[in-house]
């Protein structure tokens, strides 16, 4: 089992950095961190671009419904399956709905699903991992066994199973995505906490009368945050892909709700007759979103842990 464990740890992301890394970044002055951030962004324009794209996505998610030219649900039998034109930038679908408006409006739902899922797995994973790492012993072993079992499933397949068992709804897509992501966070936090449970500052905090919960929450856990942030960013891209994949096979989101995965699924029916714009634009948006999160994650890793650049 340890082989699988280590394989996961090596490849997917945890990549627990050695204890020496997080502490110096932490102890550095704020201006130093900011200066480093600016330096990294200047050195690596791709990361800067990723942050800009992320900003655009957030704007689209927040203001999308107010700025799009058409109602994403309004059908129009006069302009069905129109190719992209000046009035319909991304064309229209089989019911005459404006694809551009639907793609922009879908940003919110896709972001909400993935952010909610990642936030949930972040919280649950951190909680479980912190306790297991701090207490060690049986708690640790039990948690590891449970995580091993979750990881023993092909994750997308497990998500399908969870949605099937819980019922077909958007909330359950979020829960399913959260469940399959928990192991990554729990492992990462467990490793970060475990190496610090007997560190000097932990012992000092204990001696000055702090409770275990307080030490764990305010002294040890913050050290795990930098690598966690990298993980969150990489994970968001994966969560979006996962959620879109689930809705592509008809789970969770139901038509006519605009969502990228389901839009690609609907567009796929028209691709064989040559109406490419139906599937292309939502698919591209999905791809750009995932790419943004991945590039951001790589960029954040450079900021948090410069030695790990590849």
């Amino acid at each position: 089992m340890n082989k699988i464990l280590s394989s996961v740890a090596k490849t997917s992301a945890p990549e627990a950095p050695s204890p020496t890394i997080a502490i110096p970044t932490k102890s550095k002055a704020k201006s130093g961190a900011l200066g480093h951030l600016i330096y990294v962004l200047r050195e690596n324009p791709v990361t800067a671009l990723a942050f800009i794209m992320f900003g655009v996505m957030v704007i689209a998610a927040v203001f999308g419904p107010y700025i799009v030219p058409y109602d994403p649900l309004a059908t129009d039998s006069d302009s069905v399956l129109q190719p992209p034109s000046f009035s319909h930038w991304f064309g229209t679908d089989n019911l005459g709905r404006d694809v551009f408006s639907r793609v922009v409006v879908a940003t919110r739902l896709d972001l909400v699903i993935s952010v909610a899922a990642v936030a949930l797995s972040f919280m649950i994973g951190s909680f479980l991992g912190a306790i297991a790492g701090y207490r060690g012993g049986w708690t640790d072993i039990t948690l590891n066994r449970v995580l091993d079992t979750i990881m023993a499933f092909p994750l997308f397949v497990l998500a399908m199973g969870v949605v099937a068992a819980l019922g077909n709804s958007i909330a359950n897509i979020i829960y399913a995505t959260a469940i399959i992501n928990i192991p990554f966070y729990a492992r990462l936090v467990r490793a970060e906490v475990n190496i610090r449970r007997n560190a000097g500052f932990t012992l000092a905090a204990k001696l000055s009368g702090n409770s275990d919960a307080r030490i764990l929450a305010f002294h040890i856990f913050p050290n795990a945050l930098p690598p966690m942030m990298v993980q969150v960013s990489l994970n968001l891209g994966w969560a979006i892909l996962n959620a879109a994949g689930l809705s592509f096979i008809g789970l969770g989101v139901r038509p006519p709700t605009p969502e990228w995965g389901i839009m690609v699924a609907e567009g796929a029916n028209f691709i064989v007759s040559g109406e490419w714009w139906l599937a292309l634009f939502p698919g591209l948006s999905l791809m750009v979103a995932v790419l943004t999160f991945n590039l951001m994650g790589d960029g954040l890793r450079d900021i948090v842990d410069p030695r790990r650049r590849t």
Binding site: K3, T149, V157, G167, A268, V272, A279, L286, V290
Partner: protein
């Protein structure tokens, strides 16, 4: 040698608790969650009495631990329950569709290894060159590609625009007859039968879905190969080998590559997880009659026994593949089993 044998046995023994855990989770997913399977199985026209009858018939009135034991017993007899929609046992359905999925997955994996490993090696031996840049681009794009979207776009380009690939419907065009069943792999069956026309027909159908899957799995393999080769090439033993005047080919393939292979093989375990999931999506796009599309159909009509059977068998397959990978370790890595835990 004895140490190695023992560690192989230990590794096999370690898979047992995981399998047990997989069964427990699958049981929990089937039984212990909200929603009443008895209502499901009794059908739409059910009255309270028939629901109660179904409950007793399915053994759902018994306490949970007892149900679990019964569930275990059924599993050992290879019984995954009945599909509500087709009325056939889930095991039969899965078994008849598994070869299609395996054929697709394996060809995709072979394809992506054949491309990704040399690409990673080349990128690592010439860091900063154009091939390194291509590798980097492919890796970044590859992980961001939604499989189902790649599939749809490939269909558009190669079927609609260029017209060189057959219509994306299933494993074989309707003008061909299925080759006689030997392994269930159409390529092998047709070759065994000597029917090369069918063989080409099956190959043509297979290319697009396999490429779609391969594009997706290319990225992690190429990335890992590149990283592992880079670290192997900068190691002391390579410097020693160079100093000793060994030929560059011998250094590269005999020493560096052999050592770089270990992390690559480890990555394959993770890749399997992705590929078995992505398989579902690709099968849906290409109407491939594998277990993935079976599960999708079952999901849509809420045929839970079928879905759970699918999830369980995929998990078993995955655990088995990981076991194989770990055993492959013992072949590749001569240190295996000698270092101890």
């Amino acid at each position: 040698m004895a140490a190695r044998g023992t560690s192989v046995l230990t590794r096999i023994a370690q898979a047992i608790p995981v399998l047990f855990g997989v069964i427990v989770i699958s049981f929990v997913l089937t039984r212990a969650l909200p929603g009443d399977p008895a209502v499901q199985f009794a059908g739409i026209m059910a009255t309270p009495e028939t629901i109660e009858e179904t409950r007793v018939k399915l053994g759902l009135d018994k306490p949970m631990p007892e149900q679990f034991v019964i569930y275990l017993g059924q599993l050992f007899q290879g019984d995954l329950g009945q599909s509500v929609s087709t009325g056939r046992p889930v095991v039969t359905e899965l078994a008849s569709r598994l070869p299609a999925s395996l054929e697709l997955t394996l060809s995709a994996l072979i394809l992506s290894c054949v491309v990704a490993v040399p690409l990673g090696v080349l990128a690592a031996t010439r860091p900063g060159s154009w091939i390194d840049q291509i590798c980097r681009l492919l890796v970044t794009m590859g992980v961001s590609l939604p499989t189902f979207f790649t599939g749809v776009m490939l269909i558009y380009i190669f079927y609609y625009l260029l017209g060189i690939s057959p219509s994306p419907l299933g494993r074989l065009d309707f003008v061909y007859l299925d080759p006689p069943h030997v392994t269930g792999f159409f390529l092998i069956d047709a070759a065994v039968d000597g029917d090369w026309e069918t063989w080409f027909g099956a190959l043509k159908q297979l290319v697009l879905p396999a490429v779609t899957l391969a594009l997706f799995t290319l990225a992690p393999i190429a990335r890992m190969t590149r990283a592992a080769m880079l670290s192997a090439l900068s190691s002391d033993y390579i410097r020693t080998a160079r100093a000793a005047g060994l030929g560059s080919g011998r250094i590269l393939y005999g020493y560096a590559f052999r050592n770089a292979l270990l992390p690559v093989v480890t990555t394959l375990g993770m890749v399997f997880s992705f590929v078995l999931g992505a398989n579902v999506l690709v099968e849906k796009v290409f109407a491939w009659p594998g277990i993935g599309s079976y599960a999708v159909e079952a999901l849509i009509v809420s045929d839970y026994a079928a879905v759970q059977g699918f999830v369980l068998s995929m998990a078993f397959l995955f655990v088995f593949l990981n076991l194989l990978i770990d055993l492959a370790y013992s072949l590749i890595d001569p240190r295996f089993g000698t270092s101890g835990k």
